[in-house]
């Protein structure tokens, strides 16, 4: 089976600093790939390049076999196929929830209002927020806003969804409701690229774990193998930090650790 997404010898610089170094990564249609790695290793940059928010500095990047780094790539077209959700749910503050959801389908995709509206409402219902359709973002909790941001991307009917630490800015009690939505998408067979620091979630949702360090992919494996038997010293160190947290004595307040 050919890959839906294909990074090949992919490089990215910020000034003199090379933040992605000859990255090779293939993602098949319907696959759920979780990218792990220490802070600053280039996870966000990798996702942002796939969405055209950062420009590449060499190598190949293909979506459905089509080279995206060729001149003349219509990134607006690509972004409709590749949805992205960020850490801090940037909903449009001056628009109601429904207007946030409909902006792309109506203005970018020029779809019929009744059809787009039906889809938006169905998706809202699916994430349990249909009753919030007329609310403004600031009236919603972080977890609710993040679920709506996910729905906003889904309303474009993308082929792939990119999630960049979408629960990192949330209060612990709201993390679950957002992760459940992502898990639902994975179960439906959507292609997902997920950056997260939630190890238990990564283990549960991923078909494959990609471990990055300093701009390189150091290892890729199925989650069970990766978590129980990491191949590289860097990955072992990385995982030890998390298992250290989990193994702390129970007396510590649980909230600070989760």
């Amino acid at each position: 089976m050919s890959a839906l997404i294909e990074f090949e010898g992919f490089n990215k610089f910020f000034g003199d600093q090379q933040v992605l170094k000859a990255v090779d990564l293939q993602v098949r249609r319907g696959e759920v790939v979780v990218i792990l790695g220490p802070s600053g290793c280039g996870k966000s940059t990798l996702l942002r390049c796939l969405n055209g928010l950062e420009s590449a500095d060499g190598g190949h990047l293909r979506l459905g076999g089509e080279e995206l780094l060729a001149p003349g790539t219509d990134w607006r077209q690509v972004r409709q196929r590749v949805g992205m959700v960020f850490q801090s749910y940037h909903l449009f503050g001056h628009m109601s929830v429904l207007d946030n959801l409909l902006l792309g389908p109506l203005k970018v995709q020029k779809r019929q209002r009744h059809e787009a509206l039906a889809q938006a409402q169905a998706l809202l219902a699916r994430v349990g927020l249909l009753d919030k359709r007329d609310a403004y973002p600031r009236q919603l909790s972080g977890g609710q806003q993040q679920r709506i941001a996910i729905v906003r991307s889904l309303c474009m009917n993308p082929e792939v969804m990119l999630f960049d630490e979408v629960t990192a800015a949330l209060d612990p009690e709201m993390v679950k409701e957002v992760l459940q939505v992502i898990q639902g998408l994975a179960r439906d067979g959507m292609t997902l690229l997920i950056v997260t620091h939630e190890m238990a979630f990564a283990r549960a949702v991923a078909d494959r774990i990609v471990f990055m360090d300093a701009g390189r992919i150091l290892e890729q494996n199925d989650p069970e193998s990766f978590f129980s038997n990491p191949q590289t010293a860097r990955a072992q160190q990385f995982l030890e930090k998390f298992s250290y947290m989990e193994s702390l004595p129970k007396k510590m307040p649980a909230k600070e650790l989760s």
Binding site: G52, L53, H94, M95
Partner: protein, 221 residues
């Protein structure tokens, strides 16, 4: 010296008309200034080469020369170049020249206050730059700059009195005409003061109210 109430009453229709002229000049100038400012702000925000310099020069020039001199230049100097224009047209052009410069700065600051993250999430659903400007940046920038926009509208409306100098029959010109004709200085100044209070005070209060509301920010409150 007596205070001639009957005379005041007899001038009221003329003053009513004058208020109409003041509002007309002010409102037209506000709209045209906004249009000029929108174009300029876009040039500044997108850092359009060369044009950006022109806009910066214009803003400095317009804000650092007195309105009266700008007005005389348009009204007296342009005709000598073969461009003959009415006092009303000169008034609108000059007010737009001044207002456009102030509003350019207001809009630019507003646009720059919109978080970059908003632009990224707009782009990530495939909005074009124009759509981003229209649906995301301008509404938010407008909201952020609403108090200073409104303050500048009030400022422009007040500045309309300057155009009395080129015989536009607005409130100050009407006052001066009556004083010149009938020497009813106190009465006419009293009327002018009253008009100014009635016209500008409510606007200032509205401005204060707006600022109060916007401090708590935004929509859905």
């Amino acid at each position: 010296m007596s205070f001639d109430v009957a005379f005041i009453l007899s001038t009221l229709p003329a003053f009513l008309k004058a208020v109409g002229v003041t509002l007309q000049v002010g409102l037209i100038a506000i709209v045209t200034s906004l249009l000029v400012a929108l174009v300029n702000a876009a040039i500044l925000v997108y850092r359009t080469p060369y044009l950006q310099r022109v806009v910066q020069l214009y803003v400095e020039l317009a804000r650092n020369t007195p309105l009266l001199i700008q007005l005389f230049f348009v009204y007296f100097a342009l005709p000598s170049l073969g461009l003959k224009i009415s006092g009303f047209a000169a008034a609108i052009i000059t007010m737009t020249f001044l207002g456009g410069a102030y509003l350019t700065e207001v809009l630019r600051a507003g646009v720059e206050a919109v978080p970059r993250a908003q632009l990224e999430s707009g782009r990530s659903i495939g909005l074009s730059e124009a759509q981003l400007l229209w649906h995301v940046i301008l509404p938010q920038a407008g909201l952020l700059s609403l108090p200073s926009l409104f303050a500048n509208f009030v400022f422009l409306l007040k500045e309309t009195t300057v155009v009395s100098a080129v015989a536009v029959p607005e409130i100050l010109y009407t006052t001066k005409s009556y004083i010149a004709l009938y020497y009813k200085t106190y009465e006419m100044l009293a009327v002018l003061t009253l008009i100014c209070v009635l016209l500008f005070l409510p606007l200032s209060l509205l401005l204060r109210y707006l600022e109060g509301r916007l401090q708590h920010g935004q929509f859905g409150s």
